[in-house]
Symmetry: C2
Subunit: 339 residues, 2 copies
């Protein structure tokens, strides 16, 4: 497969007609987008590197494509935005372009990307391709979305007294990854993308949009680096402290299987769950689920005071202990950090 | 240097206040932009890989940063757009993050990016960082710009009878790269960025904006892959053929030094000049320079006819020969291809 055929494959994965905000898709120097009137444009980029964010002998290519797009979509969901277009920069090793098994990998990758993109009506509108200078796959995904002017959910709006909520369940992605690593063999086929929180995370697009539209959140972000790390981002941006009720944490069934200690660790520090973590006034009557996704109150925000921990975990017996950020470290010893 | 310090360095290179279209820069899940009313948003992404687009022992880091940004800016210039924000995804080897010489590399890279960004009032508004899984530097740049609705210059507007123009001079970047490769030693310091068409190309932002504003072009793109390759893109997108007058080609003084044969080859097929190649009605009175950049008429568009070459080169003696696309091949045997 030459790069021109690769570009043709990308073009097939692109359906600009799917989204009327795309005036011009792949094929010119730039793509052209027309955001709706009175909207703001939101932009996020996420780099995905082989052996750092995925392993070729562990992750099916459909999962790699899905997760690339899911990471960017989740950043839009965290601000309540509606996605309009994705851009993909992709560098592939010469061996993948040359070999038949490599072509199957590429097809699987775009299938994963495409199915998730269709679900959220976000086509590929452009990008760049190159041959990778090493035997490593590199992908960078850019997502553009829109939100009504001045309404995007930021990290900085939480106030003391606000309640702390999380969507869905925590620790599932870390638990599934840990099971995959223990198996040490590649899963070639999986029957469905449901129930695979690590391989096929579900970005909470509709829930994020509903939080914005129904004015339910004072601050929001997504749990990409782990609850303890992301909550610390929220606390710092908002200038508040937080308390978490351990008993209230919605722990994913896959994490529960690990036993209570490891389950708690996965829920607090496991990353890549792509759930939404948000603040809302304590008096606001929060629905039990939003856009079909359960919402759980897991704690509250309190005033920030020097000498007091930024985050506190309250055990079922009432014991308070400081909670340190300890997010997910992917496959390396260095923690992933965000902008 | 840890990744947090790296992000701090990126943040310092970011000056959202430089551009009032940026409502929220680095620090949340997404950046927020407010394009002017009645405008369209243009997006382009360009991946830059060590050993493919640059070599660490050949290119000063300032040049690598400059060229990353210049590639994206030039795509905006080609459509007549005004840049509003850049996003950078950067993966650096652990050794660069750990070593003092690596920190100097990072500082130089951001200096190059920053100086060009300041010149065109386009700050870094976000991005992503990661440790590279190999000893290779990887960068992906995303540029967002705006243009008045429906006015962006596309590749598809050239008509038979239109004249063909190019800005500046051709072949300079290929000639300078060839000189650098012949030297086989790294240039550690250079006194000025002027006169280095390969190391510090000048994207034609003001000229592109003027072409759009003054309605001077029917089609436009930038010469990133070489005149012969990019003209072929323009011909295909517009459904026309083209004739080039060899004697009219504005050959860069650095290319002239190579002798007539190699100079012509550099002008026709050398890539990365980042000049603008555009079509305009033959009767339109074209200024000799636009926004301070010389503009040269180098040929014309004719109807496309089967059996006739898409591009023809007319030698000074009047001899016609078919011109095949033969763009720049970077450091590999595989031609760079675009969307």
């Amino acid at each position: 497969m030459g790069e021109l055929q690769l570009i043709e494959q990308i073009r097939r994965a692109s359906h600009p007609s799917q989204n009327k905000a795309i005036t011009l898709g792949i094929g010119d120097d730039c793509a052209i987008l027309r955001p709706p009137p009175n909207s703001e444009v939101l932009v996020t980029t996420d780099i995905t590197l082989e052996n750092r964010h995925f392993r070729r002998n562990l992750h099916p290519p459909e999962s790699v494509g899905h997760r690339c797009l899911a990471r960017g979509l989740s950043d839009l969901a965290a601000m309540g935005a509606t996605p309009i277009a994705a851009f993909l920069s992709l560098a592939l090793p010469g061996s993948i372009l040359a070999e038949k098994s490599g072509q199957a990998w590429i097809t699987g990758f775009f299938k994963g990307l495409h199915i998730l993109g269709e679900l959220h009506r976000v086509p590929l509108a452009g990008g760049d391709t190159s041959e990778s200078p090493a035997n490593l796959i590199l992908a960078d995904i850019v997502l553009l979305g829109t939100a009504p002017k001045g309404k995007a959910l930021r990290r900085s709006g939480a106030r003391p007294g606000d309640a702390l909520y999380v969507t869905g369940q925590l620790g599932g992605a870390a638990a599934e990854l840990s099971a995959l690593l223990a198996r040490r063999r590649r899963i070639v086929r999986i029957a469905t993308i449901d129930g695979h929180p690590h391989l096929f995370p579900e970005p909470r697009m509709d829930t994020g949009e509903a939080l914005l539209r129904r004015d339910l959140a004072t601050a929001c972000l997504d749990v990409s680096d782990g609850l303890s790390t992301d909550l610390a981002h929220l606390c710092r941006a908002s200038g508040v402290s937080a308390e978490i009720e351990q008993a209230a944490l919605p722990i994913h069934p896959l994490a529960r299987k690990l036993g209570p200690h490891r389950a708690l660790k996965a829920a607090l520090h496991g990353g890549e769950d792509y759930e939404l973590l948000f603040a809302a006034p304590a008096k606001l009557r929060m629905p039990g689920s939003i856009a079909g996704v359960p919402v759980t109150r897991i704690g509250r925000f309190i005033p920030k005071r020097s000498g007091r921990p930024m985050m506190t975990l309250i055990a079922p017996d009432g014991n308070h202990s400081p909670l340190e950020p300890g997010g997910w470290e992917h496959f390396s010893t260095r923690a992933k950090t965000r902008r």
